[in-house]
């Protein structure tokens, strides 16, 4: 499936220098349709910066960003809304796109916050607000979703459900997802491609490859690389296309 036509955004050796200091340097990655690419790395390693570069928010960057879509949904890590502006959830949902009421309801229902539609944004809890942010980003059926810590502040069961939802959305509308997450469990199970950042790309590849990488172990500790073993198990069989089991 890895043809040129499926690429949504491609970074070629991008970097950003602010106040004589490189925030990130030499990052190359690409996001394809229907694939989830996850950025991991310690605090200050340039995950959000890389996402913002991919989105075109920073102007004075090194390297090239090639974007092949303009239909983008973005969930920023931090968002502060000025309360001098009275804003209901449904006003916020229509911020960057003119959506039909149905599309709006559908997205709010998926993230479980339809009952908050007429509420003022200022009265929501952190977790509720996060669900609204996610609903807003998916409501316009984007080709590319950029999710920067999309489930922060959401309760534990909700967190799992939302990650499942994200995975489901990527399959259903066949969009590419650039995800930033601290939750290594999710990263290792739901992701197609992992990029481990620490100012530059430490290592990247499939979750399995990254977990075995020594730089990854150095960053996250030996334990983190064992996280994967919970999910990894030996396959003694394969499935054919109709689901039938084929013995090896």
């Amino acid at each position: 499936m890895s043809t040129e036509n499926n690429i949504l955004v491609k970074l070629n050796g991008v970097g950003l220098k602010q106040n004589e200091k490189w925030l990130v340097k030499g990052v190359s990655l690409k996001v394809e349709k229907g694939k989830i690419v996850t950025l991991i790395g310690p605090n200050g390693s340039g995950k959000s910066t890389t996402a913002k570069i991919a989105l075109g928010i920073y102007k004075n960057i090194e390297g090239q960003v090639e974007k092949f879509t303009n239909n983008i949904g973005y969930v920023p890590q931090k968002i502060s809304i000025d309360w001098t502006l009275p804003l209901r959830v449904k006003d916020f949902m229509l911020l960057t796109d003119n959506l039909k009421d149905d599309a709006l309801d559908e997205a709010l229902t998926l993230t479980g916050v339809k009952h908050l539609k007429d509420k003022n944004l200022g009265n929501l809890s952190g977790g509720e607000f996060q669900r609204v942010l996610l609903a807003r980003a998916i409501s316009k059926k984007p080709e590319l979703l950029v999710l920067d810590e999309p489930v922060q502040g959401v309760d534990f069961t909700g967190e799992i459900a939302l990650y499942e939802l994200i995975k489901k959305i990527s399959e259903k509308i066949n969009c590419g997802i650039l995800l930033i997450s601290h939750d290594l469990h999710t990263v290792m199970t739901a992701t197609d491609h992992v990029v481990c950042l620490n100012g530059h790309v430490c290592c990247s590849g499939s979750p399995k490859d990254v977990a075995r990488n020594n730089e990854y172990k150095a960053l996250f500790g030996e334990q983190a690389s064992q996280t994967l073993s919970v999910y990894e198990h030996k396959h003694d069989h394969e499935h054919s296309n109709d689901g039938e089991i084929k013995k090896n």
Binding site: P86, T96, D97
Partner: protein
């Protein structure tokens, strides 16, 4: 067109209120009230240039204010001074230079009070045309940039990330503020234009739970202020600008009772 000076003032005021309502909302949301003030102060310089070069006053103010806005943007990038200090610097220096320039223009009689506080007697039929045509243009442009401007007011990065070009919307909005100052200076006066922009909007904030409502209430508040202000200006022979702004203040004070009520209802 309108023979009676009072009718002219009323028609002018109505036109201005329709424009200051929505623009004022953005001025409040984007925290630009001192920015508006600075541009209004620089309008005096525009007036003196207009008299010296025998040029249309509104056009001259519009150009001067736009240039001051540009200088401000450049200075913000080039100096380490905080934004409010730069605003004060430009506001007072352009006001001072304007007043000094008036001192040199001894061959013309200036009604300084009229320039600073507005003068309903000075509104001519030509001014009405300027206000209504200029006002309609301002509203049209605002409608065109509404989506990106509003989205970037809520969150710049979301607007930029999802392809709305917020920088362009912001630049155009700055020009719109210069334009409203240019068309309303005769009526409201340069010291009080910002009051006309933000006080009805502040009242509207107290009464609304969503942005559309706030814009509508802001327009209604502006219209009421114009009516009440102009009638009392006629009745008590007070200058028009302060009368309109004082009326807006009274409306704002009434709107505070509404907040008190809602808080009590919630409890």
């Amino acid at each position: 067109m309108f023979d009676d000076f009072f009718i002219r003032a009323l028609v002018a005021g109505i036109g201005i209120a329709f424009v200051t309502g929505p623009l004022g909302c953005f001025v409040v949301w984007r925290r630009l009230s001192y920015f508006g003030d600075t541009l209004a102060h620089s309008a005096l310089l525009g007036v003196t240039i207009a008299y010296t070069l025998e040029f249309n006053i509104a056009v001259s103010i519009f150009i001067t204010s736009s240039i001051i806005a540009l200088i401000l943007v450049k200075l913000e990038k080039k100096t380490n001074l905080p934004g409010d200090a730069l605003l004060g610097l430009l506001a007072h220096s352009s006001l001072a230079v304007g007043l000094v320039a008036i001192g040199f223009l001894t061959f013309i009689r200036f009604d300084i009070m009229g320039l600073l506080f507005g003068d309903i007697l000075a509104v001519t039929n030509d001014d009405l045309l300027t206000i209504w045509i200029g006002g309609a243009l301002i509203l049209l442009v605002l409608k065109l940039i509404w989506k990106p401007l509003f989205a970037s007011t809520v969150n710049y990065e979301l607007a930029e990330a999802e392809g709305l070009n917020p920088d362009r919307a912001k630049a155009i909005f700055t020009i719109l503020i210069a334009a409203i100052i240019a068309i309303s200076i005769k009526m409201v006066g340069l010291l009080l234009i910002t009051g006309m922009l933000i006080i009805p909007t502040a009242m509207a904030r107290n009464l609304s739970d969503n942005p559309q409502k706030m814009v509508i209430f802001s327009i209604i508040g502006g219209l009421l202020s114009v009516f009440i202000g102009l009638f009392s200006s006629l009745e008590f022979n007070t200058p028009s600008g302060p009368s309109i702004v004082a009326a807006a203040l009274v409306l704002f004070i009434f709107s505070l009772f509404k907040i008190k009520q809602t808080i009590q209802l919630k409890n």
